[in-house]
Amino acid sequence: MSGGKLADWTKGAEAIVYQSCAVCGARQYFHRSFCCACGAPDPEEKRASGEGTVYATSLVCRAATPETRAHIPYNIILVDAAEGFRMMAHGDNDLSIGDKVKARFARFAGRLVPYFEKATS
């Protein structure tokens, strides 16, 4: 595959990586070997800035495994990234919709996950 693979948090690296289509300009967060908007092959992989805006939040107070239960309550959020894609992540429990946020990385149930805090302006 051209363009090369960038490791991201799903592979244990402290990075958020998205794909950008050179043909139609669409951005996608779930990685594929093609652009799901136009079908063109080999979208370019890019590292995101980690900046975004909170789109939705849900504070999980009931978890289903011992590993995740150890973290409750934890805030599952959807973030609209500055680069134009949406992602799921963790965040501070007091985040509100519309908050400008910045990503760091945290350990959760034995894995590395993206964790958003309010951006300091």
Binding site: Y29, Y55, S58, V60, C61, P73, Y74, M88, G98
Partner: protein, 378 residues
């Protein structure tokens, strides 16, 4: 044309010692008897899935267990929309002349067959395996995300959502087969344990054992003449991360196409059966379907609009929220109740007029939608 010629429903709740196949068989036998048919008359079988007993050929396993040899059989999997998706397929199969009598069946011992943790874990897998599931979301969290956004955009409050739980419980109190039959108040919902905020325990449907079935036939088999007037689907995404804007959800697409195929307007509808896995699901779907204006569904609940004696009786059996949710069979209870209402057999729950009904199912995280209109024919 196709007709729903028979329906069968078990109580929902605990059926200790019953397998998924037992519950499916029980409901199937009831539906076939209700249609006035013999099991040998059934030449088509469509069944849902069981998270407790997964199988790559569940329809065949069921047919052997039940003791029939259909000429057409397979399972269908569209999450919570499975029941209506199967009904839509059965409608097309009998219209196309492929089979005469399709048995549509779903059932699962989801409550006593596995732990609640196992159920929650199995259901959370509708999330993306790489980009969502590792974050530890649950099904209530997926819907909690949607709820937070919907409340933000349309000024809906947690108290508003609680109204739907109270309404479904009031309806369930009238049905002997419902899992929960103790009346609750908005204050009870607000005080219930947080699950995935803004959703609390009483905003969430329970996990249940149960089974439901119906027979879809080319011609009526008796007095009960309920026909499928029109139906349609829409599938916009699977994962909540990939969900379109709230104004572009599949329910609006499915209902628009169903109205067109049925030649029916919302103003013609006399009874509504709408998927209610969570209070937010019901609130959003009612508004997406046009049964209430944006942000006004809760006000309509408070005004008695969706009650048995209201203008648009809704889920008079108590819905998933209080009758219970046993997986693929869960929302099939909505259709069974609709059929009872349309044929004047709902007893103390009977509404004045259920001549045209609107049913809507949702699978995943508002991912897959099926809208259907049923009509009573004299």
């Amino acid at each position: 044309m196709s007709f729903i010629t028979g329906v069968g429903l078990t109580s929902y709740g605990k059926h200790e010692g019953s397998s998924s196949l037992d519950l499916m068989s029980k409901a199937a036998a009831l539906a076939i008897a209700d249609a006035g048919l013999k099991r040998a008359d059934i030449d088509g079988v469509l069944c849902g899935y069981s998270t407790v007993s997964p199988h790559i050929m569940l329809a065949t396993v069921f047919a052997e267990h039940f003791g029939i040899r259909p000429t057409y059989a397979h399972a269908v999997q569209v999450g919570g929309a499975t029941g209506l998706a199967m009904t839509m397929l059965a409608h097309h199969l009998v219209e196309a002349g492929v089979v005469r009598h399709v048995l549509v069946v779903g059932g699962e011992n989801r409550l006593t067959g596995q732990s609640r943790d196992a159920s929650m874990l199995a259901l959370a897998q509708v999330g993306h395996p790489d980009y969502e599931v590792p974050l530890g979301p649950t099904i209530p969290a997926y819907y909690g995300l949607v709820a937070s956004r919907y409340m933000h955009e349309y000024g809906v409050t947690q108290q508003d959502l609680a109204e739907f739980a109270v309404l479904m419980r009031a309806h369930a109190c009238m049905h002997p087969g419902a899992q929960f039959r103790e009346p609750i108040t908005v204050a009870d919902v607000m005080a219930s344990k947080p699950v995935a905020l803004p959703l609390k325990l009483l905003d969430c449907c329970p996990v249940s054992d149960g089974g439901a079935a119906f027979v879809v036939s080319r011609e009526p088999t008796g007095e009960a003449r309920v026909r499928v007037r029109g139906c349609a689907q829409a599938h916009t995404h699977q994962h909540v991360t990939a969900m379109p804007h709230l104004s572009e959800l599949g329910a609006e697409i499915a209902i628009a196409r169903a109205k067109q195929s049925a030649g029916v307007a919302i103003s013609d509808v006399r009874y509504a059966a709408v998927y209610d896995s969570f209070t937010i699901t019901l609130a959003m779907l009612l508004e997406d379907l046009g049964l209430a204006k944006r942000g006004e569904a809760a006000a309509r609940v408070r005004a008695g609009h969706f009650g048995r004696d209201g203008e648009m009786p809704l889920n008079t059996h108590g819905g998933l929220l209080s009758y219970g949710h046993c997986g693929a069979g869960g929302a099939m209870a909505h259709l069974v109740e609709t059929h009872l209402q349309m044929t004047g057999r709902a007893g103390n729950r009977q509404v004045r007029d259920a001549s045209i009904a609107l049913l809507h199912g949702d699978g995943g995280v508002l991912s897959s939608h099926v809208s259907m209109f049923l009509e009573r024919v004299r």
